[in-house]
Subunit: 197 residues, 2 copies
């Protein structure tokens, strides 16, 4: 006899395989191909293991941070990736992603639909210490890849220093020391000609 | 003044970006390209969130399972991916990977080198409930992708039903119900002609 709950969960696991085919604007350092959302999510989680000690809240719940980061981009399977500096598409981004959350998390058994939706809402609201730290990782990682690829994504899209500073300054809410490091990286990128003034 | 510990940690985070360029034998379901280790690792972690209730040990420590799975394949940056049915290369696999663990985890500050190495050793030894469940996810996920891609990787390598059963049977040590599901999937793959008898 089939375990219906397990079968439903596995259908969700198969569906989210599509996150590997959602490509971002940032480039992988070695091969200089565009990064996808699944490997981006892995990288953020790995960063949490290494950098959790730098969270502004010292007793940040690492498990909840990881859960948020593992699921935070799943909505992009339906809603697509919205580039962090594409203000036109950002206008209806939350609305598109909320619809995607309804459909995708809705594939799970009801208790898990509620759990995953609550985690996604928490990440989006960015008001708990865990969500602030998760969001800091989500901003810092593409900056790091941009800096290590001579500003490839910034140059393609004509992004300037002021916009990078404005877009990423909330890293300071989750991890002050990481923001100090990131702000120095930005100035180095400007000095090297990888980011426009 | 630079925070030297943070700078060292970030060098590790940059180095492990290379995991996105280590490709496996399994295929992504949608685009039918080969999967890389970073997105594979994300998929396993996501599976832990969804399937932890099916672990044989009901109070399995999900955070430790996630930590093991986030780092378990990092050694393949140096050691390369060893196909699960390549018995020749599997002979010295652990030796190659242990050397890689020394170098890669050794990039971290000493306390984190020790922590990451202990997690990797625990995963490899497969004796704790957390390691058994982590290993079950690591075996079940490629089986799932193989079944959903008409046995693509199995057919390329001429893998037979008996070898798939032998290689994956230890899923039962971590999650009995998942193994029941997987064993039925294998029979369906044989019946559909996607896996040789």
């Amino acid at each position: 006899m089939e375990n219906a709950r397990l079968a439903q969960q596995i259908r969700f696991i198969v569906e989210v395989d599509r996150l590997k085919d959602v490509f971002r604007q940032t480039f992988v350092i070695g091969s200089r191909r565009r990064e996808n959302d699944a490997e981006h999510s892995w990288h953020l989680c790995l960063m949490v293991l290494v950098l959790a000690e730098h969270a502004n809240t010292p007793d940040v719940d690492a498990l909840r941070v990881l859960k948020m980061l593992l699921i935070h981009d799943i909505v992009e399977i339906d809603a697509g990736d919205t580039f962090a500096y594409d203000t036109a598409r950002m206008a209806d981004q939350h609305e598109r992603e909320a619809l995607a959350a309804d459909r995708l998390f809705g594939l799970l058994p009801a208790d898990q639909t509620a759990e995953f939706r609550a985690l996604w809402d928490e990440f989006e609201a960015r008001s708990t210490p865990e969500a602030k730290f998760a969001a800091a990782m989500d901003r810092f990682q593409p900056m790091l890849l941009n800096c290590l690829t001579e500003g490839a994504a910034w140059r393609i899209h004509g992004v300037t220093r002021d916009r990078v500073l404005a877009r990423n300054a909330h890293i300071v809410d989750g991890a002050t020391e990481v923001w100090t490091y990131a702000a120095r990286m930005i100035e180095q990128a400007v000095a090297a000609g990888h980011l426009a003034k």
